[in-house]
Amino acid sequence: MRLTQGTFSFLPDFTDEDIRLQAQYAIDKGWAVSVEWTDDPHPRNTYWEMWGHPMFDNPDAAAVVFEVNECRKEHGAKYIRVIAFDASPGWESIRMSFIVNRPKEEPGFRLVRQEGEGRSVRYTIQSYSADRPEGARYA
């Protein structure tokens, strides 16, 4: 099951040139771009691990592609995303986020039902890969 989170996730995987152009768009808007990775793809897992510092004063997106590739060397079998943070007053939040690297096998999510009081049922989802311990989830 292909993970769809953030922007562009229904499109085919981005090439480095696509990543560069999108990151350059964010930089030109004045947003700080940074690279993050995780092996816990749950949609509520907002805080991924940071790969280096956010690039607050890099005028060119070649640096982002460089860092994505550095991150791929270390975490090539996990999820990597590029996020763009808008620091301007009133926003102070992520304006754009897109996945640039994903594991070969994406086992997807299982639906978990919990019996509540009476006959009510609570639903939640759980990633199959998250059963294994951190660091051993993807080949």
Binding site: M55, N58, D60, A63, F66
Partner: protein
């Protein structure tokens, strides 16, 4: 969409170099260089040659005759204050107009910005700087300090290795300019052959002549809305002649410092002497006395120290 349009567009059969010269704005940059920089004839001609080479190369690529990005890394050698940083700025804007770097900004660094203080500190620090310079020009001032042969555990070596790797692999992303004194740069290149082979353009900056320095001093003053009194101009010429033979002479930078001190003395003089209101001309004129009061006319820095030492004894 634009990419596919470019791919399918037929290759031009002829190339109008003169038009490319106009349209890219190269003429503009070269004109600025000619007007704003005094002297430096060999540097200017080298830059013009480089610009021509790059224009031709661009044309060749349009016609499909060349595909590789040429090596653009440079070394600027010359004494202090000969305009290396200023020319590097112009170079960055030239490369930007010709489309060889995407952004055309200049990042100026020295050893301190690249080399860390403990194990494992250097690599991230150097990479950070390189990332900042991507899409532009990285100007490494006094580059020979990176290499310290007397200390084999020096972290400079690590910075050099990363630098060489990026200079080779990310040639499309950034241009590196190494700068420093001629003799020490030569020794640096001898002990780091990797650098020499990766640098295509070696540009030497000659010292300014006395006449050029005088011209520079007038331009510097005019930029700050000051001017020499007629006798002060002659005093400045004397000053340049004397200063050149004293230690720590740094061409245009020495001139800038001399003018800063002259302005200080002028302010003092106005304060001490002015009885009534001052007009704009009085406020912006550097007179002979402001210049003649300099230590340089009394034998330079050394004499004052000697006198103080004598008095102390």
């Amino acid at each position: 969409m634009t990419e596919t349009a470019e791919e399918t567009a037929p290759r031009p059969e002829t190339v109008d170099l003169a038009r490319a010269f106009e349209e890219s704005g190269t003429r503009e940059v070269l004109r600025e260089l000619d007007e704003e920089m005094i002297g430096l004839a060999p540097v200017k001609s080298r830059i013009r040659e480089t610009a021509a080479l790059l224009l031709v190369d661009q044309a060749r690529r349009q016609m499909g005759l060349a595909t590789e990005t040429p090596t653009l890394h440079m070394s600027f050698t010359g004494n202090p204050g000969t305009g290396k940083t200023t020319v590097a700025l112009k170079m960055a804007s030239l490369l930007h107009r010709l489309g060889y770097v995407r952004k055309g900004h200049l990042v100026t660094v020295t050893r301190d910005d690249l080399v860390g203080q403990y194990i494992g500190h250097t690599a991230p620090k150097t990479k950070e700087v390189l990332k900042k310079a991507m899409g532009g020009v990285l100007f490494i001032d006094e580059a020979y300090y990176l290499y310290r042969p007397e200390n084999e555990r020096d972290y400079g070596q690590e910075a050099i290795e990363i630098l060489l790797q990026v200079m080779e692999n990310n040639r499309d992303d950034l241009v590196v300019i190494l700068a420093g004194y001629a003799d020490r740069m030569d020794r640096f290149f001898e002990s780091n052959p990797g650098f020499r082979s990766r640098i295509a353009h070696h540009i030497e900056f000659p010292d300014y002549t006395d006449g050029e320095l005088l011209q520079i001093s007038e331009i510097m003053l005019a930029e700050q809305n000051y001017a020499f009194a007629p006798e002060a101009r002659a005093a400045m010429a004397d000053y340049i002649g004397l200063r050149r033979h004293q230690p720590h002479f740094a061409n245009a930078r020495s001139i800038r410092n001399a003018l800063d001190r002259a302005r200080l003395r002028q302010a003092n003089r106005l304060f001490a002497e002015a009885k009534g209101p001052l007009d704009a001309e009085e406020l912006s004129t550097i007179t002979e006395t402001d210049l003649r009061a300099s230590r340089v006319f009394r034998g330079g820095l050394g004499t004052d120290r000697a006198r103080v030492a004598q008095a102390a004894e």
